[in-house]
Symmetry: C2
Subunit: 190 residues, 2 copies
């Protein structure tokens, strides 16, 4: 499948499991080849509410590969690990330099700020992260479910995770594809 | 914590991972002690969109314990495995005999029918399962997001999974608790 779209989801200990799994599942429903990359290795990752996920690969082993989108699920502790990881910083910088899509939800935009990614762009985050995200005036903060500014897609929390995932699908394909993925999940996407 | 509520989620190969993880996460946010029980054992379970989950326990090892609610996530293949498992049949029959809560979403109500559980009750399911669920007139089928009839809670698919999980929380505690769990997820529950 030469035109298959590819995604990598960066999964760290303490990630919000609903935000992770909704992104992975919805993108796979859209036909995207999704790699679940363990930030600390390929061992099972304990998420924020103790659901244990087995990554497909260790981030170290795939960070030099090319992906159409790099996705950061939220979770407070998970987002701290995304900030602490130099591998995450590397893959985000490469993605931005190559003008490719980055998507972050909930607390994960704080990791973008930490790694100085997408400076100057409009974005959103989990409401409690508004102040830290606004500090230093590196971004224009919007209180919308999903904010798209060029190659950056951000969103707010578990309750907006379907909108976030479907916005990524629309950006990779088109609105009709996103709408067609939404319907059998009993959602609408307009 | 003598009054901690307890839940068991029956996780089978091919389960819909969003329906599984939303139930587990939302109930843990509500303070419920949730056991993720692998129907085929304690090994990682590959879900419908290839997300791999490590169960907390094997169903065989916990099926004799008592739980306030038994939860069945959907997924077509996962629901077939729930039907095929005599352990699942046993735990459901015990739950019904003890007048305790059973919750099933998406295709999983077909497993209730297979095991002859909650006959005569009102329920719903994934829309495509309406015909098989109506066959034989064992249930009254309703096309609502969530149907509650006594100790049976059913729901329709990924897009209703938050409503389903919050309805379980309300049934175990009260509406205020469900509403308090919904808010930090950026959802409303009324």
């Amino acid at each position: 499948m030469p035109n298959t779209k590819t995604a990598i989801i960066l999964l760290a200990e303490g990630a919000e499991e609903m935000e992770f799994v909704i992104a992975a599942d919805v993108l796979r429903r859209a036909g995207v080849s999704v790699t679940v990359a363990g930030v600390a290795g390929a061992e099972p990752v304990k998420c924020s509410r103790e659901v244990k996920i087995v990554p497909d690969k260790s981030l170290k082993d795939v960070k030099k590969e090319s992906f159409d989108v790099v996705i950061l699920p939220g979770g407070l502790e998970g987002s701290r690990h995304l900030s602490d990881s130099t591998d995450v910083g590397e893959i985000l910088k490469k993605q931005e330099q190559n003008d490719k899509l980055i998507a972050a939800i909930c607390a994960a935009p704080t990791a973008l700020k930490f790694h100085k990614i997408c400076l100057g762009k409009k974005l959103t985050s989990y409401p409690a992260m508004k102040c830290p995200m606004e500090e230093g005036n590196h971004y224009t903060y919007l209180e919308e479910k999903v904010v798209i500014d060029g190659n950056l897609i951000t969103s707010r929390g578990p309750g907006t995770a379907f909108d976030f995932a479907l916005a990524i699908v629309e950006k990779l394909f088109d609105k009709e594809t996103a709408s067609n993925v939404a319907k059998p999940m009993l959602l609408t996407y307009e």
